[in-house]
């Protein structure tokens, strides 16, 4: 089964943490989204009953929580990683992910990542953000962590040789027994295709053809990966992508729904 999701709570500012979590999980279920991106500021202590409720929703609806750590040196993030991992453990959210961006690779970064506790490393993954993919893969292999492949970041490097599918497959393989996670998004190409408030280089909607190409390639490789759409239009863009799959690639539908291997 391929789980999909996109950000549907872009900037929470209202409500106490407990009801926010309840609303966040229920909204994901209502939108039929199983990948839930959580802002790092919402990782805060909750009442015990709330952890149980979130855990129950995660188990029942097979939700997967994804938290992006701030972009900083991993040494400054140890406390953050531990806080997030403790939260995941309290919710019994076993396949949740802490996505970490490593701006530069030096010995201190590598040492810090290797020396992190087993609890944190169980959830941690490194997102591919920049640089040559094979060099990045080599660096991440040394710290024995999985890679979150990002379709947009790969294309922003204008790589040559151009092998996005090979890179995606290699990233999925790095997850070993854990379910893999991919970031799917498209670059904005025109001013009119962009939201007024910042979504960086991400387009509002996904380029459907490349999304289907990637999914079909993953299927042909006999693999599976959860997909998180980083798009401005959020749930509307995800619905559009799902409709496009049904219309243009109906053979993928049973595989996405977990009905075939």
């Amino acid at each position: 089964m391929i789980r999909m999701g996109t950000a549907i709570f872009p900037n929470p500012t209202r409500g106490d943490c407990a009801t926010w979590w309840h609303a966040r999980c229920l909204a994901a279920v209502a939108h039929n989204q199983q990948i839930c991106r959580i802002p790092v500021q919402m990782i805060a202590p909750l009442p015990r009953a709330m952890y149980e409720l979130i855990g129950q929703l995660i188990t029942t609806h097979q939700l997967r929580l994804v938290v992006h750590a701030p972009i900083a040196h991993p040494q400054q993030l140890i406390a953050t990683f531990e806080r997030i991992a403790a939260f995941f453990e309290a919710c019994v959210a076993d396949d949740s992910v802490i996505v970490c961006h490593v701006p530069t690779w030096h010995d201190t970064q590598r040492r810090t990542l290797i020396q992190l506790s087993a609890t944190v490393r169980r959830f941690l993954a490194i997102e591919y953000t920049h640089g040559d993919f094979s060099e990045f893969q080599q660096q991440v292999t040394q710290v024995e962590l999985p890679i979150v492949f990002d379709w947009l970041h790969y294309h922003q490097q204008a790589p040559w040789p151009y092998q996005p599918i090979d890179a995606a497959i290699a990233s999925i393989a790095s997850w070993q027994s854990r379910p893999a996670l991919l970031h799917l998004s498209s670059p904005y190409t025109a001013r009119s295709n962009r939201l007024t408030s910042g979504h960086g280089a991400h387009s509002d909607y996904l380029d459907v053809a490349s999304g289907i190409w990637l999914l079909r390639s993953i299927k042909q490789a006999g693999m599976c990966a959860d997909c998180e759409l980083e798009v401005g239009a959020g749930p509307v863009a995800l619905t559009q992508f799902q409709k496009a799959i049904i219309q243009q690639a109906p053979d993928l539908v049973p595989w996405i729904n977990g009905l075939t291997g």
């Binding site: 549907i8 709570f9 872009p10 900037n11 929470p12 500012t13 209202r14 409500g15 106490d16 009801t19 926010w20 309840h22 609303a23 966040r24 229920l26 909204a27 209502a30 939108h31 939201l195 007024t196 509002d204 401005g232 239009a233 959020g234 749930p235 509307v236 619905t239």
Partner: protein, 155 residues
Amino acid sequence: MYIPDDATVLIGIIKTATDLDTLISAQHYHIPIAHANLAYNADYFAAYLPKWHPTMAWHIGYVARINTCTIGLRQECCPHQPHHPRAMQYYVGLHLADITPCEPLIASRQWRRVWLHTTTGATLMRTPELGQLVRTQRRFFSQSLMPTSTTNYTD
């Protein structure tokens, strides 16, 4: 009521006179859980009155401050509609305060299908009419994502 420029305002439709009574007497408004992100972002609420209202049709008639958000089943929010098709679905309840008539009234001259929309205090209070919001802001309606149809339901 003064709405600060940087405040986020949720514009919501008041579909019936009963809903308006609930809004004013119980200081309460509810939206489906699928759109909870709009509620959790918002600081103020603006009530849009469609054509049923005798004097303020197609206008933003009331504004209020949002105090808290709670989650509950629809039948808890609307005990007068126990047989509604979405009675057993989760809704976000907005608990409001300081409900006051909007002065001056903000009309919607062309854009009639206002349902749920977020904007800022600065944009709302300076807009000559609601249709301007559509031209100045991108919006993504996800109304079509709602799973249950209420076509054949009447109160």
